[in-house]
Amino acid sequence: MEERRAVYQIPVGPVHPALKENIRFVFDVEGERIRGVDIKPGFVHRGIEYMGMRRNLIQVLYLAERICGICSISHPIVLTQAVEQAAGIEVPPRAQYIRVIVSELERIHSHLLWAGVAAHELGFDTLLHLSWKVREKVMDILEELTGNRVDYAIPIYGGVRRDIPPEQYPKVTEMIRYYRGLFEELSDTFLRDASVEARTRNVGLLTPQQAHELCAVGPVARASGLRKDVRQDWPYLVYGDFELSALTPEDYGVEVHGDVYDRIIVRLLEVGQSLDLVEQCLREMPEGEITSFPKIPALLAHLKKAEGEGIGRHEAPRGEVIHYVRLEEGVEGPVVWKVKAPTYSNLMPWAPMFREQEIADIPIIAAAIDPCMCCMDRIHIVRKGTSEEMAKEDLLRLSWEKTRRVCG
C-alpha cells in the first residue's frame, strides 16, 4: 500500500485577503497540515534608495518618511541619526526628547493597529473595531502634536521641526490616563478570551534558539524570550537616561512559549512601556533649542561640505531598522543610502513558524510578525517579462562587481 499521502501546493498571494501587502507564499500542504513553505518577496519594490541617491538630503528625509506609512517616524529618525553621525551634527537635548515622544506614540498606534489586524485575521471583527476605536485617541494626539495623523515630518538633521509647547502636555497626560484605564479591558479581551487563546496558543512557534539563529528582531524576538531591543542594547537619543529593558512574556508573569499569543502579550506590554516613556519624557524634558540649524539653507550648505559615513539604528514598532549613508563633499545627496527594515530580518523566522501548522493558521502567523512588505522589498528583477530569482552566489557576484566599481 502506498504510504505517502498526497502533498499538494497552495499558493497564497501575491494578492490574498490575509495579506495586507503583496508577497507570495507557496505552501506544501498535506490535508490541512503545512509541510513546507517557500516565500517570494519583491512585489512592492519601489526603488526608494535609488530615488534618494538622486536627491538632496532634505528631499531624502521626506522620501524616508514615506518608506513606511506606519513607521513613518522611525525611518526619518534613523536617517537623521546616520546623517548627523556622518556630518558631525549635534542634536539639542530637547529635540532628542521630542523625537523619543513621537516615536513612542507611534509605537502605541502601530501596536494597536496590529492588534486590530490580528483580530481580523482570526475572524474576530469586534476586537478589530474595538482596537481601532481606541487607537483613534493616540492618532488625535499625534495630529495635535505634529499636525498629521501619519507622516509627521518631525525630525530634521540637527533637531526637530516643531516644538511641543507646555500647553499641550495636559492633553498627552490625559491620553496616557485613558490608555492606562483601558489596559485591563484590552488584556481582558485579548488575553483572557477563550476563542483567541484557542487560535493563538502554540501556533506559529519560534524557539529562542531559532529566533537567535535567524536574527529575528523586535516583538517577534522578544516573544520568543530574547531580551533584545535596540533601545536597551545600544541606547541612542535619550533612551540611555531611562530605565528601560526589553519586555518578554515573562514580564507578564507567564512562561515563554514563543507563539502568537506571546506576541500579543509582548505588544500589549510595550504599549504600557511606551506610555511610561512618554510620561517620563514630558516630566524630564529640558527647555532649550529644538534644532542646531534653524535655517535650512545653512543646513544644506553644511551637509554639502560634509564627508563621511554614518549608521543609524532605531527600535521601530516592528523591530530594528538600520540606515547607512555615505556623504561626499560637493554632493548634495547621499552617495550611498541603504535601508534595512525590520520585516527583512523577520522573513526567515516565518519558515519555522509555518512548519507543521494548519492552513487556518496561515493568516495569523503571517500577521504575527507585523510584516511591512513595501518597507522591506529591496530588489525585484524583471527581464523580458519574466521574473528571475537571485541566489546567494548571484548576489555575492553583484556585490563584488559593485565594490570594484565604487572603489574604481
Binding site: 497552495i10 499558493p11 483580530a119 485575521e121 474576530f124 476563542s195 483567541v196
Partner: protein, 330 residues
C-alpha cells in the same frame, strides 16, 4: 387541500421567506455593527446586494465543471425553501403538512450544505476545494448532535401517546415543557442549548464560518461564484436562517400570545403571525448575531472535537434526562 391551494400557499412561502430572510440579514448586520461600535449598513442593504448581484456577470472558471457549478446554487436555494414548506410558519399547520416529517426536514437541511460543497469541488479552485472539504467535516460534526435533539423531543412526545410523533404538526401543537417533569425540563434545556450551538454551524457563521473563512481561504466555497449564482447562494443562506429559526421555534417555543391576550379570529392570527416572526428573530439574534460578534473563528479540528465531545455529550445527557423523566413520571 386542492392543488390550487397548495400552489398559492407555496408561492407565499417562497416569496415571503426570501423577503423575511433578507430582512433578518439586514437586522443582523445592523445590530452586529452597533455591537461593534459601527453604524452599519441600512436595513435594506441585503436587498440591494441581491439586486446588484443579479445584474452582475456570472463568471464560470475554466477548470470548473459547468453543469454542477450552475446546479449547486439552484439546489441549495430550492432545498432551503422546501424545508420551509414542512415547517409551521405561524399559528397554522405547515403547507405540506402530512406529506413529510421531521426526518425529511433533517435531510433537507443538509442539502444546501452538500450543494455548496459540490459547488466548491466543481469550482476547480484549490481554495474552493479546501472550503468544500471543511464543509463536509463540519457536516459530519454537527449532524449528530442535531439528530439527537430532534430524536429526543420526538421520542418523549411519542411516550406521551401523541402520534404521529415525527409529524411537525404534532410537535408544534404540543409544547413539551409543560408536559414533562422537572428532570424533563432540564433535559429539554440541554437539548435546546445543543440546538442553539448547532444553529450557527448549520448557517456557517462565526465561529463556524470555516468553509468560507475570508481571511484564510478567500471565501472558500464561494470564491469562484459571482453574479446570479452568488445571489442564489446568498438567498439560500437567508432562507436557511429563517428555516433554522423556525425549527428551533417549532421544537421548543411553539407558543402563541393570541390565546392569553384573548384575541381570536383574524386579529388573533395576525398577532400570532407577528409574534412568530419576533420569536424566529429572537432565536437568530441569540444564536447567530451575538455569537458572531463575541468570538473568533475556530479551526476545523477544534470544531469537530467540540461537536463530537462536549456538544454530543450535552445532547446525550439531555436525552438521558428525558428517559429518566419518563421513568419517574411513568
Amino acid at each position: 387541500m386542492t392543488a390550487l391551494h397548495l400552489v398559492w400557499q407555496s408561492a407565499v412561502v417562497v416569496l415571503g421567506s426570501g423577503v423575511l430572510g433578507l430582512m433578518y440579514k439586514g437586522l443582523d448586520r445592523k445590530l452586529a455593527a452597533r455591537m461593534q461600535g459601527r453604524i452599519g449598513p441600512p436595513l435594506r442593504q441585503p436587498f440591494l446586494d441581491v439586486g446588484k448581484l443579479m445584474v452582475k456577470e456570472n463568471v464560470v472558471p475554466r477548470d470548473a465543471v459547468p453543469w454542477l457549478f450552475h446546479a449547486a446554487p439552484l439546489v441549495a436555494v430550492v432545498a432551503a425553501v422546501t424545508v420551509l414548506l414542512y415547517l409551521p410558519l405561524g399559528p397554522y399547520a405547515p403547507v405540506l403538512s402530512g406529506h413529510g416529517d421531521l426526518v425529511l426536514i433533517l435531510y433537507l437541511l443538509a442539502v444546501p450544505a452538500v450543494a455548496m460543497a459540490l459547488g466548491g469541488f466543481a469550482s476547480g479552485s484549490p481554495f474552493a476545494s479546501v472550503g468544500a472539504q471543511r464543509e463536509i467535516v463540519m457536516m459530519m460534526s454537527y449532524e449528530f448532535p442535531l439528530a439527537i435533539v430532534v430524536v429526543g423531543v420526538v421520542w418523549r412526545l411519542s411516550t406521551l401517546g401523541l402520534s404521529p410523533a415525527f409529524s411537525m404538526a404534532t410537535v408544534a401543537a404540543n409544547p413539551l415543557w409543560t408536559l414533562v417533569g422537572p428532570l424533563g425540563v432540564l433535559g429539554l434545556a440541554l437539548l435546546l442549548l445543543c440546538l442553539l450551538v448547532v444553529t450557527p454551524a448549520e448557517l456557517s457563521k462565526i465561529p463556524f464560518d470555516i468553509p468560507e473563512a475570508e481571511t484564510e481561504i478567500a471565501g472558500g466555497l464561494m470564491v469562484e461564484y459571482s453574479g446570479v449564482n452568488l445571489a442564489l447562494f446568498y438567498l439560500a443562506d437567508a432562507v436557511k436562517t429563517v428555516a433554522m429559526g423556525a425549527l428551533v421555534v417549532a421544537l421548543f417555543f411553539p407558543y402563541g400570545i393570541a390565546g392569553p391576550l384573548g384575541l381570536g379570529g383574524a386579529w388573533g392570527a395576525l398577532v400570532d403571525q407577528l409574534f412568530f416572526f419576533v420569536k424566529v428573530f429572537a432565536v437568530v439574534f441569540a444564536a447567530v448575531t451575538t455569537v458572531r460578534v463575541a468570538m473568533a473563528r475556530l479551526k476545523v479540528d477544534q470544531v469537530a472535537r467540540g461537536f463530537w465531545i462536549p456538544v454530543t455529550a450535552a445532547g446525550l445527557a439531555g436525552l438521558a434526562l428525558l428517559v429518566l423523566d419518563k421513568v419517574v413520571m411513568g
